[in-house]
């Protein structure tokens, strides 16, 4: 493997400066779980590595007075999975984190690294869309904010431009009494999803859906959300028939491929079942409060 220059800046501004100067051959490195695997496979051969490990602000987790949660880009999957402050609708992100790979990889991998790689079968992308997250990105011109729905552009492609790094994920407060659930199907423990469903759901006292955001992973270049399908359930009691109608409409928007994990056709068949299961789990979780 070729030698690379290694930098370990202490601030985001310094990291952006080094990355910008490095141009094409520069890569930021957070947990290493993705980038080093690609380097070992010689898919990426960076000239300049910019470690984000010494930047304190990237490791922070906090909640603003308005309920918005800020997850620093260097937060490990283990930390997010066990984050007790991610409750209600925001818990969908913790639940997704808890299903990433296996314990040693969750000790290493970071939310910023995972979403920057943007594997379409990864666990965070649909969860962040369901949670209506915003991605904070730092670049030469300062910080900018991109909604999760506009962040994942396609197969391994994100809104991050050269010289930029993801600095945080922001989760808005979910509606009162909302529940978040993440339902994943994989062939063996710790694998990427064949398909997954993330949802944030809230009902009023009469059992009518007041809030729903649902996104599917593993069935296209990025997470798929279909507001038109959600509208079939919002404002109504979430009956099995309505949920099936939602699933039928959403499946029209999916664009899965055949791969070693399963065929596209199989994915289209299991997604409605995963959606039904996700609703069932979310409604069960709500029961004591209803």
């Amino acid at each position: 493997m070729m030698a690379a220059t290694f930098h370990k800046p202490a601030t985001v501004d310094d990291a952006v400066r080094v990355l910008t100067d490095a141009g094409e051959g520069g890569r930021p490195i957070s947990g290493g779980a993705t980038l080093v695997a690609m380097m070992n496979a010689k898919l990426v051969e960076p000239d300049v590595l910019v470690s984000l490990s010494a930047i304190a602000e990237l490791k922070d987790f906090g909640r603003a007075p308005d309920g918005t949660v800020r997850i620093g880009a260097m937060r490990r999957h283990r930390e997010t999975a066990f984050e007790s402050d991610l409750a209600g609708g925001q818990a969908v992100v913790a639940k997704a984190a808890s299903q990433i790979a296996n314990p040693p990889v969750r000790n290493m991998g970071t939310i910023g690294g995972s979403i920057s790689f943007a594997d379409p079968a990864a666990d965070y992308p649909p969860a962040l869309v369901a949670a209506d997250a915003t991605i904070e990105i730092a670049g030469p011109d300062g910080r900018r904010f991109v909604p999760a729905e506009e962040f994942f552009l396609g197969w391994y492609e994100t809104a991050v431009e050269p010289g930029e790094i993801v600095t945080a994920v922001l989760l808005p407060p979910a509606p009162d009494r909302a529940v978040g659930h993440y339902e994943k199907l994989c062939r063996v423990a710790g694998d990427f999803a064949l398909a997954s469903v993330a949802l944030v759901l809230a009902l009023d006292g009469a059992g009518t859906v007041t809030h729903l955001r649902l996104a599917v992973g593993g069935c296209g270049g990025g997470p798929v959300r279909c507001p038109e399908a959600e509208a079939l359930v919002v404002g109504a009691v979430p009956s099995a028939e309505r949920i099936a109608a939602l699933a039928e409409r959403l499946v029209e928007d999916l664009d899965p491929v055949d791969d070693s994990r399963g065929s596209a056709e199989y994915r289209l068949q299991i997604v409605p079942r995963l959606i039904a299961k996700a609703f069932e789990e979310a409604l069960t979780e709500m029961e004591p409060a209803r």
Binding site: V36, M39, S51
Partner: protein, 159 residues
């Protein structure tokens, strides 16, 4: 910090070591090639198989996915450092007792994750053990004996 090699000070199995690392050198390479600690194995080199697992600051992680240059000040424990020379940990004793070692390639990684589990959860149930070992592949497929051995280690042979 802009040279092609970094001087990195890492505590390995209790001893401070200063190493000159290229930016892309992984901890696994340093352990095996420089420090001749060959307990951690290079299986897939992709973080999938778990054979290279070591403890970094007390947590099991993949040494094949860890850049040595990023570890300045860290504490690394390999399978060689879990017990004093000539002695075995409870997990290792149980693996022997339960014949849970076949070809042996996965063993050191399994020992590391099992050791970590019992540190955090001294009395795990079978599901917890399976979850803890889920990131470590045994191509002999000797999982049943491995899970039994970890339970045995936890209960001191009472189960």
């Amino acid at each position: 910090m802009t040279t092609k090699t970094q001087d990195v000070t890492v505590t390995v199995n209790g001893a401070a070591r200063t190493l000159a690392c290229a930016g892309t050198t992984t901890l696994l390479t340093v352990l095996r090639d420089d420090l001749l600690l060959t307990g951690a194995k290079r299986g897939c080199n992709q973080g999938v198989c778990g054979a290279c697992t070591v403890l970094i600051d007390g947590r099991p992680m993949r040494s094949c996915l860890t850049l040595a240059a990023n570890l300045d000040g860290a504490e690394v424990t390999t399978v060689e450092g879990l017990a004093p020379r000539g002695e075995l940990t409870r997990v290792q004793e149980s693996l022997l007792k339960q014949n849970a070692v076949q070809c042996g390639f996965c063993t050191s990684g399994m020992v590391m994750v099992a050791h970590d589990l019992l540190q955090r959860s001294p009395d795990p149930d079978v599901e917890e053990v399976r979850d803890a070992l889920s990131g470590n592949l045994c191509r002999c497929s000797g999982y049943r004996a491995l899970v039994d051995a970890v339970i045995d280690a936890a209960t001191g042979g009472a189960a």
